[in-house]
Structure formats: C-alpha cells, structure tokens
Symmetry: C2
Subunit: 657 residues, 2 copies
C-alpha cells in the first residue's frame, strides 16, 4: 500500500454555496459561538445539565475563569471537570474556521485576546491544564488514567493550529509547539521519561496536525510513540495510581478508576486489538490519530489496525444513522450486531469523531465507502446533536425515544427526548460546532496520484493550486441532480474522481452534455480533463426501505426509511402515538415532498401503513391471538436530524412491517 | 362488600398426590433444605454470588453464626446483610411445612435446636436482629429506612407460627409473641413511641398471621397501624436519619439512602397511592399484608387499595409468565405496559409474593382471576427460580436471554443465563422453598358462605372438618382431565366451587357421569352436594398462541405459546441460534407430546416457523429491503420453568410471526 505524503496539488479555497449548510454555518456564527462564549464566561442564564442523563442542574461553566486564575488575573479555585479547558479550545477552533467564511472583527478581537489569555495561563515549561496548575500542581502527569492532561493540551494544539492557519496568529501556534515540546520532554521510553499515555486519546491526532503545519518530525515521532506504546504495559495506569496514592479521595474524576482497561483501549497494544472496544469517543479519537499517523509514517501495524477497526465499526457496530455506542454504561461500544435502539448511547461526539476518522481514511485509500460514512454522519448522527435554533444540544442520539420511558424506566433515563441547554461535560456542542464551521475542509481529498476526489454533494466553489476551479451546484440533499463546472487552465491535464454513493448504485452521468457509461472504481468515477468541462451527475433519490442484517436482533423484521443520505424518523408531532403500532407497507411506493415551511425546509416522506383500529385499552394484557383488526393509515416521516424540534413526544426510526 | 372472618368450615388436611409437585416437594426435603442448612452453617463448598448480577463471589453465609454470637455461644462480628437472619427463618418455615408431608426426625432435631438457639439469641425485651445486637446495639430502631429490623422479625414470626402449627412447639410461638410485643411497645402514635414503619414491608402480614393463631387483637391492630401509618409523614425516614447522623459511613446498607420514597412505598399513605410503584418485592409483601388485614378489619380504604393495586399489577405490569418488575434499577416496577423482555428483572421473590397476594385476594372475593394468577406463578414465574436439581437458583427471570448479551452489554449484565449456586442476598431460594413445601395450603379457600373453593388442579386428597373429603386426580399440567371424588357425610349439604381457569373458557363438566351445563360465576362453577359425587371436569389443553395488549411495545407483533397454565420457551439447546430469527406461523396447528425423559418429564410443543435460509454473515449491515428468502423450519418449545437446565444458550418466550 503506497504511503501518502502531503501532495503538491492542494485545495486553496472552498466556499460552501449549499443553502443547507450555509444556514447551519451562519447559525454557528450567530447563535452557537456567542451563546457558548456567554456560557463559558458564566454570563448565560441557562440550565447546565450536570450529566448526559440530565440529573441535576448547574449554572456555572467557569471555563474562562479557570484560565484567568491560572494566568494570575483572578484568584480562586478551579471549577468543573479537569478537562474544562477543552470547552474553550474547541470553541476557539470553531471560531477560527468561521473566519474563513464569515469575517468578524468583533469576534476576532475576542479570540485574539483569548489567545493572549491562554498564553498567560501557560506555564513557563509549556504545561497547560488549569485544574492541575490551580489546585494540584504536585500531581501533574501522575494520574494519566483520568487526568485528561494530554487530551486537554491536544485540544489546544488543534485549536492553535487552526487559529494560526485561519489568522496567521503566530502566538497561537507558539503556545501549541511549547505544549508539544513540554510533552515531548516528559513522555517517552528514555531518560527517566514517563513511559505512558493519556487515558483519553486526542494528543495523537493533535500532534499529527502540528506536524503537518510545522513539518517538525519530532511531533510525528511523539504521536507515533503514543500510539505504539499504548497498552504495552497494561499495568501502567495502576502503577501510577499506586505511586500517587490509591484512594477514593484522590480520584480526579470520582469513580473513574472503575472501568477496566478496555474502556481506555489500553488493555493491549493497538496492533493486537482485534476489534475496537470501550468508550466510543476514545475509540474514534484514537482511530483518527492512527490513520493520521499511519499516513505519514507508513506503519503497517497501524494501517492494518485502521482497516480492522473501521470494518468492525462500520459493518458491525454502527446504527443506520451513523451513531455508535450501544450502551450508556461507559458510553461504550458493546459487541458486533448489538444495536438496541431505545437503550443506546450514540453520543454526538462519537459521530463527529467518526467523521474525523472517515476523513483520514480517505487519505489512505480512495474508496467511496469512507465518504459514504462521512456523509452519513454529516446529515444524520452528528447533525442531530444540535437543534434547528442552534441553542439546544443532544449528547445521546437514540433511534427510538418515548418521553414516558425516559422518565419512568431508569434504563432509559439517559435518553433525553428534548435537547438540553448545555452540559456540565460540554464536549458535544463545541465538537459539532467545529465540524460544521470546518465542513468546507471535508469535501475534497487530493490523492498522491494528483487526483482530486470530489466526494461530497455539498454545493461549493473550490480552487486548487494548479489553477483548477470546480463549481458544484445542486439542491442536495433534497435533489439528486449534481452539476459540476470545472475550469481547467490551458495546457493542464487534471484527473477528477467523482463519488458514486453507496445509496445510489443507479446513476447517470453526462460530460459536456453527452451520456457516458464509466467504470466505477471503489465507488469513484474518474475523468481525465484537459479543458473546461461541465458534468451532470444524476443520483437515485428514490425513497428506500432499508433492512438491517439478520444478525441485528433489535431491527429484525423492521424497516427504516432512507432517501439519499437522509435517514427518516416518525415523530408523535405528526403521527398519533404510540408509534410502535404502525406497520409500514413497503409494497406501496412512498411519496416525497419538499416542505419549505417545515423545520427550516425539509423533504417529507409519507409511507403507507396500518395500525390497530382501536387502542384496545379494555383488552386483556394477554389473550389468544386475534385476527388483526387493522386499519389503513399513513406515516409521515421527517429527516432524523430534525427530530425533537417541536413538541416533546415519541420518535422512531425502525418500523414494524 | 362483606368482610370475611375465619369461617367455621376448615380444611383439616391436604395431601398432595400430584407427581409434578411431589417431586418438587421431595426435592426441597432432600436437596434444598440440607443444602441451605450447610450454606447457612458455612459448610458448603460453593460460590455465593455477592449480588444478583453475579459480581464477585463469597464463600460465607454466616447466618447461623450470627445467631450464635448473639446468643453468646460464639464471639465475633456480624457478617452479611443486616437481614441475614431471615435466611434462617425462611429455611425454618420451609422445614416446618415439610414435616406435614415428610416427617423427618433428624431434621426435626435440627429445627428444635435451632428454635432453642433463636430463643437464646433473643434479647430479654423480645428484640431480635443480630446485626444490631452484635455490632450496633445503640442504633436499634433508629434507621428504619434501611435497617430491615421489622422485616427480619416479621420473617421470624412467620416461621414461628408455621413451626408451632406444624409441630406444636410452643417455644417457637413464644419467641414470636415476645417479638411482636417488643414491636408493639416501641411503635405507634402514642406515649413517645416511634411513629414509623419499616423500609421493607413484611411485619404487616406476619402480624396478621400471628393474630390468626393467637386471636390476640393487639397484633391485628399493630399490623393495621403499620399499614395506615405508612407514608403519613413522608419525612419520617429522613428525620430518623438526620437524628442518628446522616453520612455515608453510617449507612447500614451502602447506598441504600439513594432510592426515593416511591421505592419504599412510603411517599404517601397507601389509600392515596393510585398505582403500586417501587421495589417489586416490597410491593407484593405490602399488598399481602393489606389484603390480610383488610379481611379481618374490614378497612374499606385498604380493600380499595388491594383491588386497585391488584388490577394494576395483573392487568398492566405483569409478564405473561407472572413475573413482575420491569427494571433492575431498584429491582422495581416501572410503568403501565412497560414490559421489556431482555432488560427486565422479574425477581423470583416477587413472583412468590404475587402468589401470597393472590391467596389473600381469594379470601376477599371468590373470583377465579386470583386463582389464575396463583397458578401462573406456581407453574411459571416462581417455579423458574429453581433448577430441576434443586441446587441452583435464579434471582432474575427474564423472558429473553442471550449469554453473549449478558456478558457484553452492561444493561443486561443482571440477566443470568444459568442459575447460580447461591446468593449473598439469599432471599429467593428460601422464599421459593417455603412456597413449595406449603403448596398444599394454596389449593382450597373456604368462603364465609361455607363454600369450598377448589381452585387449583394440583392432584390431592383433602379432608374438611365437616367430614367432607375430596380426592382430586389428574395428570395436570400435562393433561386437562380433572377427576373429583367427593365424599359427603350422610345428611350433610355442602357447596363446592370448581374453578374454570381463564385459559380454558371451553370446558365440559360431568357430574356422576352426566353432562351438566352450569353457569360460571366469576370463574367458578358451583355445585351443591348432598351425597357422594364424582365429577369430571375436562379443560381445554389446546396449545394457544398468545398476544399481548397493543400497548405493550416490547411484545408488539409477537406471539407467546401457552398450553394450559404453562408458558413455553424456546432454548438454543433445541433450536439453532439466533432465536430471534424464527417467525412462528400461527396458522399451522402446533403439535404436543409428553416426553418423560426430558427435563424430568415435560410436555413439548412444536410449532411451524420460518427463518432466513442463510445467516447472511456477508450481507451489509444495512441494505434496501430484499425479498425474504426464508425457509420452513420448526421451533421446539419447552415449559418456561424448565429453561436453563441444559447447556448455556439463548432463550426466548415471545416470537416474531
């Protein structure tokens, strides 16, 4: 397998022109960023859910205050999770991306000042984790199982790189390199360094990004070290804890010593792990780092693990919406084909992380299956994390929800049926914000064969450093007519790969108005262009009834509805409850209509169904099977990402048939 | 509603002649009682599951040792749960009942000595709870929310009454009355007494039994007090805890302060509780006490609550097997029609307690629905708690089980797929043992109209104090031909009520060989007999496909299989997994065959089914709906109570169709 290096051919700019995504991107600028800034400065009058289960409420984030205390601008104690700093960093990263499409002087002043604050908070040696700086300086790097120190600094490094790239602010990058240098001095297998790694992966992918921008091999080596050292000594965490003093009152996060090493993906070296297990977000962050580092180092063990983990996640542990994480216990993966819809987790961060992983896999292999998953996350499992008003957020993204069950069955209490204002552990909102503001970076992949892969149908105008320009127009995801106008400088020959999505094996393609019947290679159609060209790709937007593999007990005998990349859901707001009583009739062709007034404009699917003619409230709890007395009805479906934006009620993705 | 009082007509003896139950009753004598005696004396070389989730193992019960320490015969600390004493008492009660059908001099020596030990352990004032006597005498009656003191003494009172009734041992009864007197001196609304009640109901039904045998009104009044006072001051528990010192390290059972008052059925007075909520075993113990006391006091509020709670439990919260308790969290009920099959609890003790409650309800009203539930528990949800060898026990009785899911999905880790040796909290095995050894007491109810209700089809010979003898013969539950030979003393007119079970609306009845076509009144056929009579009742033993009410989402579109009172299950031992892939075809008549060699002799039901022709291991996780490629097959079903007696594997009660 050829190892990719940074290719000479590069994207120079991508402007998103798709209405669908422009609305979301402006929403982040107008609502999410100001709102989160208020929250982090304790100026928002909101309820913060203390945990994803919405137990208890808090009014304070204290995230900026922690930095001010560390910088000596305030006095007081640290407040919040030990990784509270990452809220600020992910926010900064999201803001950095937004400047690319929405210059904003006021925000820029805030972010420049924030970079100054972060620089002031950083220790002389480059260390920065306000929890330890403020309240436990003697414990730095001593409880890596739960300290999140490298996780925290990794998130800053990502933000610093993004901010530097967006604004040219060198100070932002310098903070990142000083952090990385600090970590490099402290971690490794030589010279009395700590032979360990963080309980939560993140530093690996962050260092790879820092290597990309600095081209300093040291950072790539350090990232590679963290990946190869992980799990080599399964006792590492326990040994650190024993040395620092093992007792409940020394826990940095209460109860965090309970999970076993598989939760941390640290029970054995990555190369020996057959399938990804454990905390879903840790899994996808680690996978992203693995793919990133494998691309630049060519490490065959890492490459093999990338493919092995990808296959298991996508082929055996993923919901039809792209969500992963079948259990709330440890916010974790469980086992192949175990995909319960009502007790699941499906954390927003895990869907966002799958998009990160997919993006990196596209750099390893020009296969459309990676872009299919990326698209699935963008339009379903990740996007559902945020309300249409940009002010409410899901941590858990179920495929079946019932307010009564969430309220009265403790096994489903983690499944909210309305998005929360904010979370004490606020990883998800900012993670989704940075994905949305950077989505322009997810549309093209340039291969080492100097081929431009256009693998997403998000309308855009892109320019490349060889002078090629691509203007893609469409009304996706509502329509499947994709138009490309490619401008090719005179004398240049360029190769373009167009993705044929897995959900549209039937398609038509016209080049300069003429039908062509191209070969599809791993999901891509390749065209060699020597002059300006127009391309019309028509995708199959037929509504499809989907079935799950027979090994998925939770979905057996049920169907989901999908059109293009959009997975559909029924809500009580449109269909009288209980939703489980509807039987969909796949033999009747569904109808589709775009409703510009509903939910900011969505395509509505209506399917034929039957349900019991009466609610049988007086029927016995159990009785001999009766001849069904069902009546014909219809089920109105909305895109899954848009659920829970109206009145609180039942929701369901899989239907009896 | 007429209030029942102890009627003059009484059963004098019931001898169980049914092979099915004689085997179980001998098994308890030969296996369960000696085995449990060894366990309680720490002489059994076994693994004790520390909790129902089978987490951790213990080798010690220490239950008898605790009594010896309290009696001054040993030194040391208390070990085990604060209610560890109840293991001994329930064992003693089970042994007492066994003497009625299996006189046993060796065992009688042990039990007489045990009564002496208990008497020695009892404080001079009648108090007996070894946890407090040994290690926390200053805390007696001060943390009733979690102390289980009245629960513990209640179980002794039951045992003492039973032992006295079985053996005439007055000392056993004297211990009970001294206990009850101690409680009477300490609890009530006057004279500085404690205005409270135990966190775990039991004392109420125990005091009612003590009233029955002693006819001392004081005990009935005290039972009535506990029932009417419960929940009157919702702050009672908190006030006690605050007074004693509220902190984690003062918990008598760690974590026990967490559940809210609904768990304890103490959030409001019983008369105001609309539906039963909370810990399922607490619910049925309380209900049994309510019905018991209502019978003797005529308290209309209690009577109404009995009917209200019964209706909700049986019509909206009960599994088809008779199990109750939909969630492991708090081992609790959840809400109407919430009956998940794979994450449920269905504790054996709760099924046993439902049998207690049903027995009491039969005293209130001559309605066969109570006997139907009693029968359902006896043949399904309670009986499944014990293995066929009498040496292994279930705490949780699921309707769908998969060893892989129990091992790898934490939300199902409480669902064992093989019975455990013993439990640290060993309530279930002994509870089931005392039900089995006393099952002769559950076959007849004499109404205040001097009518003998024969409501169970467990073959037996019964005598009554008016000289009537009933000899019921049958091969139930495998055959539905029920024969009664009734001997009526010359000159006597007696009224006999025969139950027509809810599962057999079609039946035939012959009296002295002649067909009769009687009226069915609330599930009973009444015959007035003036001479010796033979009766042949033929019940409908057709295999029935059962459906759940449409409001039960977990069972929607699925069928269960029942024949007579026996609910059937499919096991992987008979049918290649995965079991969820079978679609049962109810249009094909099932076949039935008794197999005397299988599982100690069981009726086997075979139903027509289809399943996918291939296991589709290479199919995508999701794909457009394909035309089914199913193949015809059969599904072999065994009685639910007998599952998990062969190799470990999947089990399922509800099937797709």
């Amino acid at each position: 397998m050829p190892i990719k290096t940074a290719s000479e051919l590069q994207t120079t700019n991508v402007e998103i022109t798709a209405d669908f995504w422009r609305r979301y991107r402006e929403l982040v600028v107008k609502e999410v960023l100001p709102y989160q800034w208020q929250v982090m400065n304790d100026q928002a009058n909101i309820s913060i859910s203390v945990d994803p289960q919405n137990n208890g409420q808090d009014k304070n984030s204290h995230a900026v205050a922690n930095l001010k205390i560390a910088a000596g601008q305030m006095t007081g104690h640290h407040y919040g999770f030990p990784f509270q700093d990452t809220d600020v960093y992910k926010w900064l990263e999201a803001a950095a991306y937004s400047f690319n499409y929405h210059p904003n002087a006021d925000l820029r002043t805030i972010t420049d000042n924030l970079v100054d604050l972060i620089a002031d908070a950083q220790d002389d040696d480059g260390y920065l984790s306000t929890y330890f700086q403020i309240d436990a300086p003697e414990r730095k790097f001593k409880w890596l199982q739960q300290s999140h120190e490298l996780y925290t600094m990794g998130h800053y490094i990502e933000a610093g790189v993004a901010y530097y790239q967006a604004t040219g602010n060198h100070k932002a990058l310098a903070i990142a390199t000083r952090m990385a240098d600090c970590i490099d001095r402290n971690f490794g297998l030589t010279d009395g360094k700590i032979p360990g790694y963080d309980g939560h992966p993140e530093i690996e992918l962050a260092l790879a990004r820092l290597y990309e921008v600095t081209q300093d091999q040291k950072y790539l080596d350090l990232a590679h070290y963290f990946l190869t050292q992980r799990g080599q000594n399964p006792d590492f965490f326990d040994q650190q804890i024993a040395k620092d003093g093992d007792s409940d009152d020394r826990d940095i996060i209460p109860g965090m010593r309970e999970p076993d090493l598989t939760y941390f993906l640290a029970a054995e070296p990555i190369k020996d792990q057959k399938v990804p297990q454990g905390h879903a977000v840790r899994v996808v962050y680690l996978c992203t780092g693995m793919a990133y580092v494998a691309r630049y180092t060519g490490d065959q063990d890492l490459l093999a693990a990338c493919h092995r983990f990808w296959d298991d996640l996508v082929k055996r542990q993923m919901y039809v919406t792209g969500s992963i994480g079948a259990t709330t216990s440890g916010e974790a993966l469980t086992y192949d084909y175990d995909l319960p819809n009502d007790t699941m987790y499906g954390e927003t961060c895990a869907a966002v992380g799958m998009a990160f992983f997919a993006r990196q896999m596209l750099h390893l292999d020009a296969k459309a299956e990676y872009a299919d998953v990326l698209e699935k996350e963008l339009f379903n499992g990740a996007l559902s994390g945020m309300s249409l008003d940009g002010k409410h957020f899901f941590y858990v993204n179920p495929l079946e929800a019932d307010p009564k069950a969430s309220r009265l069955n403790p096994g489903k209490s983690h499944v909210l049926t309305h998005r929360a204002d904010w979370f004490g552990c606020a990883c998800c909102p900012a993670n989704l914000a940075r994905l949305i503001t950077s989505v322009d970076q997810y549309l093209y992949t340039v291969t080492d064969q100097q081929t431009i892969l256009s693998h997403q149908f998000i309308a855009n105008r892109a320019t490349f450093n060889n002078g090629v320009e691509i203007d893609q127009t469409n009304h996706f995801p509502w329509a499947g007519d994709i138009h490309y106008t490619v401008t090719v400088p005179q004398g240049l020959t360029t190769k373009l790969g167009l993705r044929i999505p897995g959900w549209s094996p039937n398609f038509t393609l016209k080049v300069n108005g003429k039908d062509v019947d191209p070969t599809v290679d791993h999901g891509f159609v390749y065209l060699t262009l020597t002059a300006d060209t127009t391309i019309d790709l028509t995708l199959d937007m037929t509504v499809k009834f989907m079935q799950a593999n027979n090994r998925v007990s939770a979905d057996y005998g049920q169907v989901a509805v999908q059109r293009g990349p959009i997975v559909y859901a029924a809500e009580e707001a449109d269909n009288p409850a209980p939703l489980w009583q509807y039987r969909v009739d796949p033999s009747v062709a569904p109808t589709y209509q775009y409703d510009k007034k509903l939910l900011n404009g969505v395509g509505i699917v209506t399917v034929a169904a039957t349900k019991p003619a009466s609610d049988a409230s007086d029927a016995p709890l159990y009785q001999p099977l009766q001849l069904a007395n069902d009546m014909a009805t219809k089920l109105k479906l909305i895109p899954y990402y848009a659920w829970a934006n109206r009145e609180n009620g039942q929701m369901r993705v899989w239907f009896h048939r």
